[in-house]
């Protein structure tokens, strides 16, 4: 029986989704709002889902409690409700939040709609296929382990009734060899599309925590979108200063090194990973590089060379995001601009602050590659 509470619950969830959609831009630029949970869901604080009433604020409020304690000892924190400022506001209240869970996939769909991202046309289609067996049909013969008992007995019953062997007072049904039915399977070939994402980040001294935060937020959304578009995704992380090394996700976001910067070292490592482990014809390969644009001057040329020879010809997309740093000179993007016209899959973006994340994602993923 369909219960009415399920209808109400469904409606509630729809409303939550609507609210998330409305506020998506805020979530995109304020990554800290997302508390990532598990593999497939995120929990999000959603505003204004309460029904507002006239209520007392905490200012001047109090209550009665029970227990030990001297006069003056604190017993609990007040809510930050932002009242008492006494200034006019045209913003309706934003104080009440509610944590809700939402599927990552769904979030990616919303992102796609919000940013009007085109669906990605994967390359290497059909080159990798997986075969799946589905038990969808019935056969007269087969191994006993696949015998379809219900159908077999139904057939036997039908036969017995037809031949007048069936006695309802003694309802014994005995299948014969002919009654037996077996399950059977069909194999379907399914094309599988896979993608490799390589994140590269400059962790030299000039990249501060603020910049890394931008990278973290942006890559969260890129991950979400690409995961939504491909069946299987491999993500690799490379950090570099003057030398590059591959690290895990956690290290990627939290390492800080000092010293100079040689971007080419990261390119070399990325190239090696790609060539050794991912056949370029079968994989959709994405490179995302984040840096403050401060490279060791003599390195620039070899970077550009390597990019043109080894990386750009093989990847779907090479995105370079330059985050503004108080220390970096930001010259590297100028080097890349020179070759931008020749390579359609090279995307450059300057990310000045968190608000720029939104446009940057749109720029990176807006090509539909």
């Amino acid at each position: 029986m369909a219960r009415s509470i399920d209808r109400d619950l469904q409606r509630f969830k729809d409303i939550v989704r609507g609210r998330v959609r409305e506020n998506l831009k805020k979530y995109i630029t304020h990554g800290e709002m997302l508390g990532r949970q598990g593999r497939d869901v995120v929990s999000i604080p959603v505003p204004n889902i309460d029904i507002p009433h006239f209520r007392h604020g905490s200012k001047g409020s109090g209550g009665v409690g029970q227990g030990e304690g001297e006069v003056g000892s604190p017993i609990g924190q007040g809510q930050a409700d932002g009242d008492g400022q006494g200034q006019a506001g045209d913003q309706p209240g934003s104080g009440h939040y509610r944590e809700v869970e939402i599927a990552l996939d769904e979030l990616a769909e919303m992102l796609g709609q919000e940013l009007e991202l085109p669906r990605i046309e994967p390359k290497g289609k059909n080159t990798i296929t997986t075969s799946k067996d589905k038990y969808t049909s019935i056969r007269r013969t087969g191994p006993e382990s696949l015998r379809h008992i219900k159908r077999t007995y139904k057939r036997a019953l039908r036969r017995m009734i037809a031949s007048n062997d069936y006695d309802p007072r003694n309802p014994k049904v005995i299948p014969t060899r002919d009654d037996r039915l077996y399950r059977s399977w069909k194999t379907t070939e399914q094309p599988e599309t896979n993608a490799l994402i390589v994140y590269m980040m400059d962790v030299s001294g000039s990249m501060t925590d603020d910049q890394k935060e931008i990278v973290r937020i942006e890559s969260f959304w890129i991950d979400a979108w690409l995961r939504n578009q491909y069946d299987g995704i491999d993500i690799r992380y490379i950090i570099h200063d003057a030398v590059a090394k591959e690290v895990d996700e956690d290290t990627f976001y939290h390492t800080r090194e000092s010293g100079g910067t040689r971007i080419s070292s990261a390119y070399r490592l990325a190239r090696d990973i790609m060539h050794h482990e991912y056949p370029v014809d079968d994989w959709n390969i994405y490179f995302f590089q984040f840096s403050d644009g401060d490279n060791w001057g003599e390195d620039n040329k070899s970077c550009v060379d390597m990019l043109m020879q080894d990386l750009l010809p093989h990847c779907n997309l090479f995105c370079y995001g330059q985050v503004e740093s108080p220390y970096g000179s930001g010259e590297f993007i100028r080097e890349l601009r020179r070759i931008q016209d020749q390579w359609e899959n090279l995307t450059l973006s300057e990310i000045d602050n968190k608000d720029a994340i939104y446009d940057s994602i749109k720029l990176f993923l807006g090509k539909g590659k």
Binding site: R55, H56, V71, A88, D90, G93
Partner: protein
């Protein structure tokens, strides 16, 4: 008409029920027939989300509530043990996963509630056939949804719910005003009254010959009189506000005067009916839970328990009675205060003689062996609500024994801090928190504010300011119902101010 085809209690529980019912009756509890059903947690949560009823109108907040209850249960944060609704017959729901000791306790507890529902004066005006009424509401709302669309009805319900607490809790018990006579019937009742202002200057003029006119009716006197009259007229006009006196039942005011379509009118009246139905439960939370707890502990400890069950019972009971520093437990306060009253009336610790005694030792040893306690608490459960209960029976000795204190919000630290352990302070604070369910007092003062048909509400400031973000959102919802700009007068930063919403923007200015 419960949602499930009624499932008879398993024999084990039926036996317990019978025993408990018998015990409860022996103690003099008086209740309607009580029908118990056993539900699993999901079903119980559903009933709880619906306020105890199997059928409610479709609305997402029930779903939200359900979600919260289910999650709270899944994460082990909370658990509902039982649910009783105030109807005749009473329906009570038990949680199937409760251990048998818990079921006993809960059944005994339920009979306490049943007695309270039937006998407490504040429930006397509630509809005991609410089960049918709720189902009726549900089908009416569903019909509107079919006709006018889900979104439209839902948005309207949202707006109504936003002000559902703006009701006059005492109105079911008193007549606030004469039955409304409409303008038409008023006009018919006094048909021959000449229209005002027809020839007002003639009234005090004496008949006279022309040549005496200036002496008998001196023009300056006439003029002065006319002025006086028109001034009075104006004053009367000024005084005749709309509504004539501030009206607490904002919902009723809207029903009578807001430009609502028929279906909207009906939906609003549904919301109002339900708000009034649930109001007494909010008014008597402490007493109701205290009363039920008093009886479950009495019945269980005297009769219900086997040796093996003592520990489970004690564990559960103490869990229910747990106190905390920042929130008063209504179960605990209720049961302790009832016990205190019982003891005082048993020992005769009341009346002028006792009150006048100032010697603490004599007072504490006071015992006239009157044995009136049981009788007294039965009387208390009949006439009081939480506010009068506390007001009448809270004593300094009791506060001391319970370790009560008053806490206040300290703006400079953003912490709640213990402010006082003085009896008067505690009592005042307690009463403040209970009066009007701890919600701000708000009434309609003017339905034609600035002569522009705008709605003007007034917040009766009692020392606590409104939460502004909530207030603004609520105003926005109110504007949807009223259709014209709405205002609320309140205090912001110790200055009288008005928050307004005109349909698009909020404005806050000092009065």
């Amino acid at each position: 008409m419960p949602i499930s085809v009624q499932r008879p209690l398993p024999p084990e529980l039926a036996a317990i029920q019978q025993e408990m019912e018998g015990r409860a009756r022996d103690y003099g509890l008086d209740f309607f027939e009580t029908i118990f059903e056993v539900l699993d947690y999901e079903e119980l949560s559903m009933f709880a989300a619906y306020g105890g009823f199997p059928v409610r109108y479709p609305h997402w907040r029930f779903g939200a509530q359900f979600d919260e209850l289910m999650k709270g249960y899944a994460y082990g944060l909370q658990k509902i043990y039982e649910m009783v609704i105030n109807t005749d017959p009473v329906y009570a729901y038990l949680l199937s996963s409760n251990a048998i000791t818990d079921q006993k306790l809960v059944i005994a507890h339920v009979y306490g509630h049943c007695d309270f529902f039937k006998n407490n004066a504040w429930f006397s005006q509630t509809n005991r056939k609410m089960l049918d009424q709720m189902a009726n509401h549900a089908s009416r709302v569903s019909r509107y949804i079919d006709r006018f669309g889900f979104e439209a009805v839902e948005q309207f319900i949202d707006a109504c719910l936003s002000i559902e607490d703006l009701i006059d809790m005492h109105s079911p018990h008193i007549v606030r005003r004469e039955t409304e006579t409409t303008e038409v019937t008023k006009a018919l009742a006094s048909p021959l009254q000449a229209p005002a202002g027809d020839q007002p200057q003639n009234t005090s003029k004496f008949r006279t010959k022309d040549y005496l006119e200036a002496y008998i009716n001196p023009p300056e006197v006439l003029r002065a009189e006319a002025e006086e009259r028109s001034q009075k007229e104006q004053e009367r006009e000024k005084q005749r506000t709309f509504p004539e006196s501030p009206q607490r039942d904002v919902l009723l005011f809207l029903l009578e005067h807001a430009p609502l379509k028929d279906w909207q009118h009906d939906v609003l009246s549904i919301i109002r009916d339900e708000a009034y139905y649930f109001a007494p439960q909010g008014q008597t939370k402490i007493m109701n839970e205290g009363w039920a707890s008093y009886w479950h502990s009495k019945i269980m400890t005297r009769h219900g328990l086997t040796d093996a069950e003592i520990i489970d019972y004690a564990d559960h009971h103490s869990g229910t009675m747990a106190t905390s520093r920042n929130r008063l437990n209504p179960y605990k306060l209720g049961i302790e205060l009832l016990k205190d009253i019982e003891e005082r009336w048993n020992r005769g610790q009341f009346g002028p003689e006792y009150e006048d005694c100032t010697d603490a030792y004599t007072r504490s040893q006071w015992d006239k062996q009157l044995g009136l306690g049981r009788q007294k608490i039965f009387e208390v459960r009949r006439v009081h609500n939480d506010v009068t209960f506390i007001d009448e029976f809270l004593t300094p000795e009791f506060c001391l024994k319970q370790g009560f204190f008053e806490y206040r919000f300290n703006e400079s630290t953003n912490y709640y801090e213990i402010a006082s352990r003085e009896f008067q302070m505690i009592k005042t604070q307690l009463l403040d928190g209970l009066t009007n369910h701890g919600r701000p007092f708000i009434s309609v003062v003017d339905g034609n504010y600035r002569n522009r048909g705008e709605l003007y509400l007034q917040h009766q400031y009692e020392g606590i300011e409104l939460r502004q973000d909530y207030a603004q959102d609520t105003l926005a919802n109110l504007e949807k119902l009223w259709g014209r700009p709405v205002h609320i007068e309140t205090i912001i930063d110790e200055k009288p101010s008005i928050i307004s919403f005109d349909g698009s923007t909020h404005e806050i200015h000092e009065k």
